[in-house]
C-alpha cells in the first residue's frame, strides 16, 4: 500500500509505504487525520499550505457490495473548517485496486493560471505507481461535458478514469466540487460539498487520471472472513425493500423522498419559509419514473454510479425526443432547484443539474444560494429561465455569478438576507430543521457545516428505519444525532455508500457483514463497539481541527430565523437551546 505525495510547486512526487500510524485508517478517517496532522488550521484554504487528500475506503476496490467510494479531504474554502466529501465512481475502485491508500496533493505553482493533468499508472515490473504529466490549459474555461470526452479521447486505448474540476473551481468558488466520472464516463459524480474543487484548482491541478492496467487489487488478510461478510451484506441489501433490486431506490431513486418529506411538512419550500410545496408530486421520484416511462415507452430502473453496487439508485432523465438529458437527478438536487425555488418542472430542474455538473458546481449549494438570491429579489421565485441564466453567470464568472458562487452563507451576507439557511457558511440540504429536529442537530453540530449525510437521523425520524421517532419532538435527539454522526464517520471510512445504512440498520446480520468485511481486509478483530469508537475518534480529530481554525461551539448553531419564525404547516420553531446543542460534542 502506498502513500503518494504530489507537490504542485514543481510537480515532484514522493512515494512511500504507509506509515504505521495510518495503517488502520482509510477513507474519511485517513483524510481527516492527515489534514489534522499536516495542514495548519489557520492556513488559507486556497493557499500553498492547504492539502488535498484522496483516499479509498478499507474495502474499496474489492468485491464488497456498494463500496466504490472515494473520500476527498482538505480545509474547506466554504466553511473554513475541515472537510470530507465523498463520491461513488469507478475512479475510487481503481485507486483502491492500485493500492494507493492516500494521494496527497500539496503546494501550488508560482504561476497562477497554470493547469496540469496527471496520469497515474503502474510500472509493469515493480508494480509501483508511475506519473505522467500533460499541459491541461487547453481544457480550461469549458463545460465538463465537452471536456471529458476530449480527455478520454486523448487517452484512447487506455483504461483511464478521470477526476477533474470545472470552471467553478477555476474561479476559486466556495461552491465548487471535485468531479468524477460515472459508469458511462459522464462528469456527473461529485465530491460536491465544501468547495474542495477549488482547493484542487488552487494547486493548478485540472485532472487526475488513473490507469489501473496491471493493478494487483486490494490485499485481503482473511479472505474467508471477508467473503462471509460480503455475502451477509449482499443478502441484507438484496432483501431490504429500500435497497433490493426493483426496490424503492432502484425504482424511484433518491427523489422518492420528495413526497414523504412534503407529507411530514419538512420539505423546505421557497427558501425555507414553508414545509410543504403544493406541486411536490410533480417533481417527486414517482413523477421521474412515470415521466421517463411516458417518454421512452418503457419502464426504466436505475443504474449504478460505480462498480459493484447492488442498490443502483442513479436515475436518468430524458428529453421529449428521447435523448438523454442528465444523470442523475438526486433528491437533493431535485429539491434544491424544485421546491426550494418553487420550480415544478422536471425539464428545468434537470437542465439546472446538468449545468452544475458541466460547470463543476455543487447542486445543493447552488440551489440554496439561488433561493437566497430570490429572497433578495435578484431573480423571482419560480422563474426557471432566470435560474438557468443565473447558473450560466456563475459558471462564466460574471460579477453576480461570483457572489453566488461564494456559497450560501457569504452570498446571504452580501445580499443582506436574514433568512439565510446555512451553518458554518454551508447551505442546508433538503430537510427542515424545525420540522425534523434530529437532522437540525446534525446540521448545527457537524464538523462539516450543514450536511445531511453527516448524521442521517431522517432514517428513524421520517422513514421508520431502525426506529419510529416523532420528527417534531426533541426527545433523545442529541444522543441520536451523536450516534449517527459517529456511525457515519465509520461508514465513510469503510468505503461503503451511506445508502447501505437503510438495510443494515434494520437487518443486524448486514451490519455484522460490513464489520466482517473490514476485519477480513485488515486482519483485525473489531467489534461493533470498536467501529463506533473509531468513528467517534474521527469526529474528535475533526472537531479539534475546527476549534483550532476558530470554528468552535459558537458556530454550532441553527440560523436565528429558525428559532423565531414558525414554519407552516406545523407552525413550529427550532427550540433546542445552545447548551443542549453543545452536548453533542461536549459529551463525545
Amino acid at each position: 500500500m502506498w502513500f503518494l505525495r504530489i507537490n504542485m510547486k514543481d510537480r515532484t512526487h514522493q512515494l512511500t509505504e504507509v506509515p504505521e500510524k495510518y495503517k488502520k485508517l482509510a477513507g474519511r478517517s485517513l483524510t481527516s487525520n492527515l489534514i489534522a496532522d499536516e495542514v495548519p488550521p489557520l492556513a488559507h484554504p486556497l493557499g500553498p499550505n492547504n492539502k488535498l487528500v484522496f483516499s479509498p475506503g478499507f474495502v474499496t476496490g474489492t468485491s464488497a457490495p456498494s463500496s466504490s467510494r472515494i473520500s476527498v479531504g482538505g480545509k474547506s474554502p466554504l466553511t473554513g473548517g475541515i472537510k470530507e466529501s465523498n463520491a461513488g465512481t469507478p475512479w475510487a475502485w481503481k485507486l483502491g485496486r492500485m493500492r494507493i491508500k492516500a494521494l496527497i496533493v500539496e503546494g501550488q505553482p508560482e504561476d497562477k493560471g497554470e493547469f496540469w493533468g496527471l496520469v497515474i499508472g503502474l510500472d509493469k515490473e515493480t508494480g509501483q505507481p508511475t506519473l505522467e504529466w500533460f499541459d491541461a490549459t487547453e481544457f480550461t474555461g469549458q463545460d465538463a461535458y465537452d471536456v471529458y470526452p476530449m480527455v478520454f479521447k486523448k487517452f484512447e486505448g487506455r483504461r483511464v478514469s478521470v477526476c477533474g474540476i470545472g470552471m467553478a473551481s477555476e474561479h476559486a468558488y466556495g461552491n465548487a466540487g471535485v468531479i468524477f466520472e460515472d459508469m458511462s464516463q459522464n462528469p456527473s459524480r461529485f465530491a460536491g460539498r465544501g468547495g474542495l474543487g477549488s482547493v484542487m484548482g488552487s494547486k493548478g491541478l485540472k485532472f487526475i487520471l488513473l490507469d489501473d492496467a496491471g493493478a494487483p487489487g486490494v490485499e485481503i488478510a482473511d479472505k474467508e472472513l471477508f467473503d462471509e461478510g460480503r455475502k451477509k451484506l449482499a443478502a441484507a441489501l438484496n432483501e431490504h425493500a429500500i435497497t433490493k433490486p426493483k426496490g424503492g431506490l432502484n425504482t424511484y431513486g433518491t427523489a422518492v423522498l420528495v413526497n414523504i418529506l412534503n407529507e411530514a411538512g419538512g420539505l423546505p419550500t421557497r427558501n425555507f419559509s414553508r414545509g410543504r410545496f403544493e406541486n411536490a408530486a410533480k417533481i417527486a421520484g414517482e413523477a421521474i419514473f412515470d415521466g421517463v416511462k411516458e417518454r421512452l415507452g418503457e419502464e426504466r430502473y436505475n443504474h449504478a454510479c460505480s462498480p459493484g453496487c447492488i442498490i443502483r439508485c442513479s436515475n436518468t432523465w430524458y428529453r421529449k425526443d428521447k435523448s438523454e438529458h442528465v444523470s442523475c437527478v438526486e433528491y437533493e438536487s431535485d429539491w434544491a432547484f424544485g421546491a426550494n425555488l418553487e420550480i415544478d418542472d422536471l425539464d428545468t430542474i434537470s437542465e439546472l443539474v446538468k449545468l452544475c455538473n458541466g460547470y463543476g458546481l455543487d447542486t445543493i449549494e447552488t440551489g440554496v444560494t439561488l433561493g437566497v438570491a430570490m429572497e433578495a429579489g435578484v431573480l423571482p421565485f419560480g422563474d426557471g429561465e432566470a435560474a438557468i441564466e443565473m447558473v450560466h453567470k456563475m459558471g462564466k464568472g460574471e460579477p453576480i455569478g461570483r457572489i453566488l458562487g461564494s456559497g450560501t452563507g457569504t452570498a446571504g451576507k452580501i445580499l443582506g438576507v436574514v433568512r439565510t439557511p446555512a451553518v458554518k457558511g454551508q447551505g442546508m440540504p433538503a430537510y427542515e430543521p424545525r420540522a425534523v429536529k434530529g437532522i437540525g442537530i446534525t446540521y448545527a453540530t457537524s464538523t462539516m457545516g450543514a450536511d445531511h449525510t453527516a448524521g442521517y437521523t431522517i432514517a428513524p425520524e421520517i422513514l421508520a428505519v431502525m426506529d419510529d421517532l416523532d420528527p417534531l419532538s426533541k426527545e433523545g435527539k442529541i444522543a441520536l444525532s451523536r450516534a449517527f454522526q459517529a456511525t457515519t464517520a465509520f461508514i465513510d471510512t469503510s468505503g461503503h455508500c451511506l445508502f447501505i445504512a437503510f438495510a443494515i440498520l434494520d437487518i443486524a446480520s448486514g451490519y455484522q457483514g460490513m464489520i466482517d468485511e473490514v476485519n477480513g481486509v485488515l486482519g483485525t478483530k473489531w467489534t461493533a463497539d470498536d467501529i463506533l469508537e473509531l468513528g467517534t475518534e474521527v469526529l474528535r480529530v475533526e472537531r479539534k481541527f475546527n476549534e483550532a481554525a476558530g470554528i468552535g461551539k459558537q458556530a454550532d448553531r441553527i440560523p436565528e430565523f429558525m428559532h423565531t419564525e414558525p414554519l407552516p404547516p406545523h407552525n413550529v420553531v427550532f427550540e433546542i437551546d445552545e447548551e443542549t446543542l453543545d452536548k453533542v460534542y461536549g459529551e463525545l
Binding site: T251, T453, L463
Partner: protein
C-alpha cells in the same frame, strides 16, 4: 364521514385510479381506525411502512376524524 387519502410510490397501484400521490376521498364510519383502510383498499399491512395523518406519523390504531388527510408510504429511503 369523509377522509382524504393519498397512496405513495408502489402503493399507488392500490389507489382507485392506480396513481401514486393522487388524493381520493373515502367514506368511512365514525370511529374507524387507520388500519381499517387497509381492508377497504386491499393493501397488505406489511407493505406499508409510514402512515401520516395530517402530516403526523400515526400508528394503526389511530381513530380517524372527519376530513383527516391520510398518506401511506411503503418502505422508502434516499438522501
Amino acid at each position: 364521514m369523509r377522509v382524504r387519502v393519498k397512496l405513495f410510490a408502489t402503493l399507488g397501484m392500490y389507489a382507485p385510479g392506480g396513481e401514486s400521490a393522487k388524493p381520493f376521498v373515502m367514506e368511512v364510519d365514525q370511529g374507524t381506525r387507520l388500519n381499517a383502510l387497509l381492508d377497504k383498499l386491499d393493501i397488505p399491512e406489511e407493505s406499508v411502512r409510514v402512515k401520516f395523518v395530517n402530516g403526523r406519523a400515526r400508528k394503526w390504531d389511530y381513530v380517524l376524524e372527519p376530513d383527516d388527510e391520510v398518506g401511506l408510504f411503503p418502505p422508502i429511503g434516499g438522501g
